[in-house]
Point group: C2
């Protein structure tokens, strides 16, 4: 468990090649069968690269990214940072992730000095505590899925049962999942943010298939994240339990659309997430 | 009325300077008191520039943008388009809007060939028909706001009354607004899309102040759009009535966060919008 978290921390610790150029490693134990890089890894590493070029008194408050091409797990990823704005209150960075001479991912992120002002927030829905719920690993074993879930250093506990929908499932449009890093993380706010960026790519697209009795385990759907956007409303720790509520307002044109809200355990809304992905029925 | 719509159509008809470089004009009757370019104009023009470089069999399905610096209404805006991906199913463009040698706006947009697949959508809320509601112009006059609303070629009819909140208003977190172009638009899907991009910047940030008894009419709040993201789920016409439902899940750090859903008159969910803006209390 600790080693999976160490791997995550190492993934998010980029090598600085030049002032605005960083290199991100691949996981130590690469699953070459997956053949492509996990989207959350690229998004998390890209945000680390952006943050390394920003004064530490400015915190990231939003990011917007597109996944452009599948990442190659057999080589590192280069992150090229562009300083598109250095303003008095806001700093904006663009980051292109590059492999084999081509962009695989493009991120924009905005950072802000600390300010205060109007405060309001959605309330957290009432759900069972994470301690009362089984881990996603146990769920996979119980469901006889016949393969281990990806070991990612993130503890994931689904509120709803079953996790995935099949032809017999009534349509659902929302799911609730508790998540946290499997071991404590160092006290670096950027690391907690980027760890959550990493984890936030895990359950969005599954939600868009819940209404249709399909899941990504089937061989009958081609799935890929298309974009990823996050807004960081309030501080949080990624090694404490966070409730990830995801709903899917729409699917059309072989694309699924999902909106997530992340609450800390005391009920504060800390992050909003929006993602669209390809969910293409295979013939 | 027709001339305001003609102005909008002309604003969205860019001059091509080179293969990937376009120039956008300013409105004929510039309100120099406003001093900065309306965000919806830059977003709409930038998407026109992107679309001009994409094969017409590919339709835009999403965009993500940041507003970086105030636009200068006294000179044109240059749009520089980067072909970051030309894929078999998806095409992605980055567009930087430039004035005085500096980026004022950065957009990414993704286009897709026509595909079909899973279908689901949020239902439209039940609200009064637009014909039963007063125009925003009449509302401003009735409210004694003492100035004309900006003439933008967009007919805007608020469901709720009053439009803006003040110290006596109970907190509200959602509003419903009917919108459409004030006159018919030519049958070009890109024009309808970009006209809606233009209009979609009009009511998002106001919603974030509804819970706080303030509005942008007050001199006590500094407001500016920070980002803008849209997902185009289904085809629509911008010259037919569209219901724009906006809610505000959060405000914090002098920023307001708003989520919009746009339905056509038959109740189809056609577009999702997310925007964060600066809402800084003035001392």
């Amino acid at each position: 468990v600790a080693s999976a978290v160490d791997d995550l921390i190492q993934l998010l610790d980029l090598e600085q090649i030049e002032v605005n150029i960083f290199r991100g490693a691949q996981p130590k134990e690469v699953n070459l069968d997956l053949q492509r890089v996990f989207g959350g890894q690229v998004a998390g590493q890209a945000l680390v690269a952006a943050a390394r070029t920003v004064e530490p008194d400015r915190a990231v408050h939003s990011l917007h990214a597109y996944f452009l091409r599948p990442g190659d797990v057999s080589i590192p990823i280069l992150y090229d940072v562009d300083h598109i704005r250095d303003g008095s209150s806001f700093t904006t960075r663009r980051v292109v992730a590059i492999q084999h001479g081509r962009a695989i991912f493009n991120l924009q992120a905005s950072f802000q000095i600390e300010e205060s002002g109007f405060e309001h927030a959605l309330p957290m829905p009432d759900v069972p505590d994470p301690e009362t719920l089984q881990s996603v690993e146990q769920r996979w074993i119980d469901a006889g899925l016949g393969l281990d879930p990806p070991e990612r250093g993130v503890d994931i506990r689904h509120v709803e049962d079953p996790i995935f929908s099949d032809a017999a499932s009534p349509p659902r449009f929302r799911q609730h999942v508790w998540i946290r890093a499997k071991a404590p993380l160092p006290d670096d706010p950027i690391l907690h943010t980027c760890a959550l960026v990493y984890a936030s790519d895990l359950t969005m697209m599954d939600t868009t298939l819940l209404p249709h009795g399909r899941s990504h385990h089937g061989t009958n759907v081609q799935m890929a994240s298309l974009d990823h956007a996050m807004w960081f409303h309030r501080p949080f720790r990624a090694d404490e339990w966070l409730l990830y509520v995801v709903q899917t307002p729409s699917a059309s044109g072989a694309r699924g659309f999902a909106e997530g809200k992340i609450f800390d355990r005391s009920g504060h809304l800390v992050v909003s997430v929006v993602q669209e992905g390809l969910i293409r029925p295979r013939r």
